[in-house]
């Protein structure tokens, strides 16, 4: 481990991490159902408290314009990269295709030997809802969520696969999917809108970090990122949207924070997960502890994969 990084146990809450010691899960609409209800508002985490917020506060909660941003540790990104490179060196010794570490559909990370994604029924719904989210934060709520998402995906690289998967569904399943998307979209569009352009919002931002000369590649996407490049203080916050089947998106959130740190040289100040089905946002401040945990997540997965590969020979 590089000397610039604090020795942290990623399984223990970091004292300075709001997310771990006072993690917040928020949604924009006050809902009588409280924490567990769709569109409900909750503050979860170690304390397990519950709070209520009003409509339209999600963007403000993400960015907190008045809050003080932590200064950037200039050696952190290099230290994290060196730590990762040391940890994946065993993979480089093995042959075979590059190992791609990316967010999995269940909230944990996944490592595969190819970059292809499979479009299961659950992934199909999530893809449609992510598109609804993207349209909403770009140009406002779509008119008819299901149809508009399909129309939008027609110009996307994966659009043909989605259209084909939807077309193959039996009529009743298709109607069911349409209703699920329409229902979930109402929560998304009630909570989100286009952020001010001066916040430099962007969607569908791809992040990658090749390690061991490209033998291992870390990948993720930010469904929404805001804030310009750092000039000495943390300046970026990023949101990952996921389907409702995900129990804990923490590892994926951490991976997003890690990748943004590696590529920009400055850690983001905040990362969040947005549950598209339940319309719930989980916000986490980025700390050294969170980034250390992200490295541990990656190395544990790569190590397990390497052992499987080695055992299979």
């Amino acid at each position: 481990m590089p000397p610039s990084l604090p020795l942290l146990d990623p399984t223990r809450p970091a004292k300075t991490s709001v997310a771990v010691s006072d993690g917040r899960t928020v949604a924009g609409r006050a809902a009588p159902g409280g924490a567990g209800a769709p569109g409900g508002v909750a503050t979860a985490g170690a304390a397990g408290g519950v709070a209520t917020e009003l409509t339209g506060t999600l963007l403000g909660r993400l960015r907190s314009p008045g809050s003080v941003r932590p200064p950037v540790d200039h050696s952190l990104a290099g230290g994290l990269r060196a730590w990762l490179e040391d940890g994946v060196v065993a993979v480089a010794a093995h042959g075979g295709p590059a190992l791609v570490v990316r967010p999995g559909q269940d909230g944990g990370l996944t490592a595969t030997a190819d970059e292809a994604t499979r479009l299961s029924g659950r992934a199909l719904r999530t893809t449609l809802l992510r598109t609804v989210f993207r349209i909403t934060v770009t140009s406002g709520p779509p008119r008819a969520a299901f149809e508009d998402a399909l129309a939008a995906l027609a110009v996307d690289e994966e659009g043909d696969a989605v259209a084909e998967a939807v077309r193959r569904l039996p009529r009743h399943r298709r109607a069911q999917l349409r209703e699920l998307v329409r229902h979930a979209a109402s929560g998304i569009t009630a909570q989100w809108g286009p952020p001010p352009a001066s916040w430099l919002p962007r969607t569908g931002e791809r992040l990658a970090a090749p390690l061991a000369g490209g033998r291992v590649v870390l990948r993720s996407d930010a469904d929404l990122a805001m804030g310009g490049p750092s000039a000495g203080r943390a300046s970026v916050c990023a949101v990952r949207a996921h389907g409702g089947a995900v129990r804990d998106d923490g590892p994926n959130r951490r991976l997003l924070a890690l990748l943004e740190t590696l590529r920009s040289g400055a850690a983001p100040f905040r990362v969040a997960s947005y549950d598209l089905d339940r319309a719930r946002l989980t916000v986490e401040d980025v700390t050294d502890g969170l980034l250390s945990a992200a490295v541990h997540d990656v190395l544990a997965l790569v190590d397990a994969h390497t052992r499987v590969r080695a055992g299979g020979r």
Binding site: I135, V137, T138, S139, D148, A149, L153, E157, R206, L207
Partner: protein, 298 residues
């Protein structure tokens, strides 16, 4: 942003982009505007001779009739793509293929009005694709006509994709320090019609004109050794078509997905290496054996 220190055959690294300097835009701009020695007419003539000799030799050995080969930097990275014997995917406009064209149009608007945020500039381009700030001339198959034909949700996704791209590029440089940047200038071509007919298509996202100028090329994903070598391709096209009077001093490749930048100085070795790579692509397309390059001599 990091620049690998290990030398690549035929590639002389340019000025280093410091991995710790913040803001990154300062470091990248420093590299882009640093100037430097320019490959002289003799170096360009040498690369041209090497290329023409290689093409003539390939034509001599070709068995099948040789079609016109269009070669882009991409073909040097993934030999075979887009060539007669390679995987052929017909081009179509998508959010991904249009984002560069729309994003560059938006950046041109931002340069005219620096108070304009990239998201607003992209929204303007998408709202009036045939207008003066649009992504290019209208016409069948054009990006402008395609954009105009889209439904509102499809247009929103194109807008989203172009906004992400344009924001990354707009915030990557300190534009006030880049002298007279040419943003998204038309691709430049060099073609040869004797023997093997080839058309080389050179592209740069930002050109810093003049002696000691530079190209900025924005690329997807992350760099490989092949993609680094291919950086010189646009400079080779400039050198060939201008007979050596308009050659950038360096090409800076920038991969926003991973934050890496690679600056390659364009000297005689870089031009000759790139010319060899072009000949290699042509020989592969004609199913001729490709010579392996000797160890690094630069």
């Amino acid at each position: 942003m990091t620049v690998p220190t290990a030398p690549l055959p035929g590639v002389r690294p340019g000025p280093t982009v410091s991995p710790v300097v913040l803001p990154r835009a300062q470091a990248l701009t420093d590299v882009l505007v640093a100037g430097g020695p320019v490959a002289g007419a003799a170096a360009v003539a040498s690369a041209r001779r090497l290329l023409e000799h290689g093409l003539a030799e390939a034509a001599t050995h070709a068995v099948d009739p040789v079609p016109c080969l269009r070669i882009r930097a991409f073909d040097l990275v993934r030999p075979g793509a887009g060539l007669p014997d390679g995987p052929r995917t017909p081009f179509r406009w998508t959010a991904r293929t249009a984002r560069r064209r729309v994003g560059l149009a938006a950046i041109r608007s931002c340069l005219v009005d620096p108070g304009l945020a990239p998201a607003d500039a992209v929204a303007r381009v998408v709202a009036d694709p045939g207008g003066p700030a649009g992504p290019g001339p209208r016409g069948p198959g054009s990006c402008a006509d395609w954009l105009a034909s889209l439904s509102p949700p499809a247009r929103a996704v194109v807008q989203a994709s172009a906004t992400a791209w344009a924001t990354a590029v707009w915030t990557a440089l300190e534009w006030g320090r880049v002298p007279a940047p040419l943003v998204g200038a038309p691709d430049r071509w060099w073609d040869r019609r004797d023997g093997v007919r080839v058309a080389l298509q050179g592209r740069a996202d930002v050109r810093v004109p003049g002696p000691g100028g530079a190209h900025l090329v924005v690329l997807d994903g992350y760099p490989s050794s092949a993609s680094r070598r291919a950086l010189a391709f646009g400079a080779l096209v400039d050198a060939l078509r201008s007979e050596g009077t308009d050659v950038p001093a360096r090409v800076v490749g920038w991969w926003p997905d991973c934050g890496k930048a690679w600056a390659s100085s364009i000297d005689g070795t870089a031009l000759r290496t790139c010319a060899e790579d072009v000949v290699g692509v042509v020989r592969r397309a004609l199913r001729l054996p490709v010579r392996t390059r000797p160890a690094a001599s630069s």
